[in-house]
């Protein structure tokens, strides 16, 4: 059953058209990865889904709800879409636990005690039960990103968006975040991931969409895309990635 439908999305910043008609669909439980050179529009595409960036034309539907319909409440919509950021963006003045309870309390209206309990569960799931009272600046990058994932998951979203979740991390910290993501994929979460983590893509992705200059050049399961890419642009890019040790 289709959870996310993206249809002919166009987006420009000034004179520069960043998305030139992107379309794809995801079923519930799918894990899709967006890959492509920097500036190809991957992050913009992701941000258009929860309207952190607004599209110029086309349409996006989440679980049947038209994301860009004037009747759609953007704050309600965003409760269904979790987002994990490249730079973590944890609330700097709040502890790991409070980072999670804030949304529960303010957005979902969960009472304090229950919010604390649920947040503690989510922290435990990402292996950070002991760090509940730590502030973001006291945590490693990998720990911060895991809190970021727990914060998004706590809202019980239908879809999780990951915007280059490991690219700001030191190489030795990438593994712990990828492991949490893989675990999430196995538990059936629908995930759209902008990442060049070949390991994650190969083992967890259902489909990979290769974007170049604002268009999806090629889509397919990892085996197909990695081993028999149809487009020169795709194989060039993948060869470049592999030689960089990804």
């Amino acid at each position: 059953m289709t959870l996310l439908r993206v249809e002919d999305v166009h987006k420009s910043y000034g004179d520069e058209e960043v998305l030139k008609g992107v379309s794809f669909e995801m079923d519930r439980g799918d894990v899709d990865v967006l890959m492509g050179p920097s500036g190809s529009g991957k992050s913009t595409m992701l941000r258009c889904i929860n309207r952190l960036t607004e599209i110029d034309s086309g349409g996006i539907w989440l679980d049947g709800t038209p994301v860009y319909d004037p009747e759609t409440d953007v704050n309600e919509l965003r409760q269904d879409v979790g987002m994990v950021f490249q730079d973590f963006n944890l609330f700097a003045h709040l502890t790991a636990l409070e980072n999670i309870t804030l949304g529960l309390k303010r957005v979902l209206g969960v009472p304090e005690a229950e919010a604390t309990e649920r947040a503690a569960d989510h922290l435990a799931q990402v292996g950070l039960a002991a760090q509940a009272d730590s502030y973001p600046a006291e945590l490693s990058g990998g720990q911060q990103q895991r809190v970021g994932i727990a914060r998004a998951l706590a809202m019980e979203p239908k879809l999780m968006l990951f915007d280059e979740p490991t690219s700001a991390l030191d190489p030795e910290l990438v593994g712990e975040v990828v492991e949490v993501m893989r675990d999430l994929a196995e538990r059936g979460m629908t995930m759209l991931v902008v990442s060049h983590e070949m390991g994650f893509a190969r083992s967890a992705a259902d489909d990979i969409h290769f974007l170049d200059s604002g268009r999806i050049v090629e889509s397919g399961p990892p085996e197909q895309l990695f081993q028999r890419p149809e487009h020169d642009r795709t194989s060039e890019f993948l060869t470049g990635l592999q030689s960089n040790g990804h």
Binding site: L52, N75, M83, F85, F91, H93, V107
Partner: protein
Amino acid sequence: MLQAGDWAFVLDNFDYLLTGAAVTVGLTLTSLLLGFLLGFPAGAVEVYGEGIAQRIVSVSGVVLRGTPIVVIMLVLFFVVSISKSAFVTATVGLGLRSAAYQSQIFRGALQSVDEGQMEAARAVGMSRFEAIRHVVVPQALRRSMPGFQNEFTIVLKDTSIAFAIGLAELLTRGYDLFTQSGRSTAVLEVFVAISAVYFVLTFGTNRALDRLSEYYAIPSGESS
């Protein structure tokens, strides 16, 4: 220059000066409070507002910051006559000017909070207002402390300008002392004494505000 008899005179009248110091402290607090109540929202309007509201706030700030405080106070007291009370007038004058400066402190602090904080708050479904209130403002207030400490010191010392409208604060009372007949030789002693009081007040409150900043500082894990 400094003479024992004049020191004795200052010491004998120290109670009189301290009553003035109490007025100085009171005026500082009311002015800063008015400045905060107007300045904080004004800073927020400058950052998040649009259109006419933002224009009005920013023009008022420019006018207030561009007018000498003595002029503001004299105009309020003698031209506009907003109140017969010199204390109330001085509070309004110092408060308005402080609001104009505090708005800039808060504007800078609000703008210094990373854009990603707002995005993360919006992404979990908070409204813009909730995101500002629960995520941006708590961080901005902490960052505004050093600027606010400066403003505190400036307002405290500028309460002496209420001298111009005859408010019996510390400076006015000092002036009263040495203008008594036969006491003009005590000018230096009086000024040394009231300067010492101003210094103790600014130094003491700054240390207290340092403590407050430390207490509310966001742990970074690097200082311990």
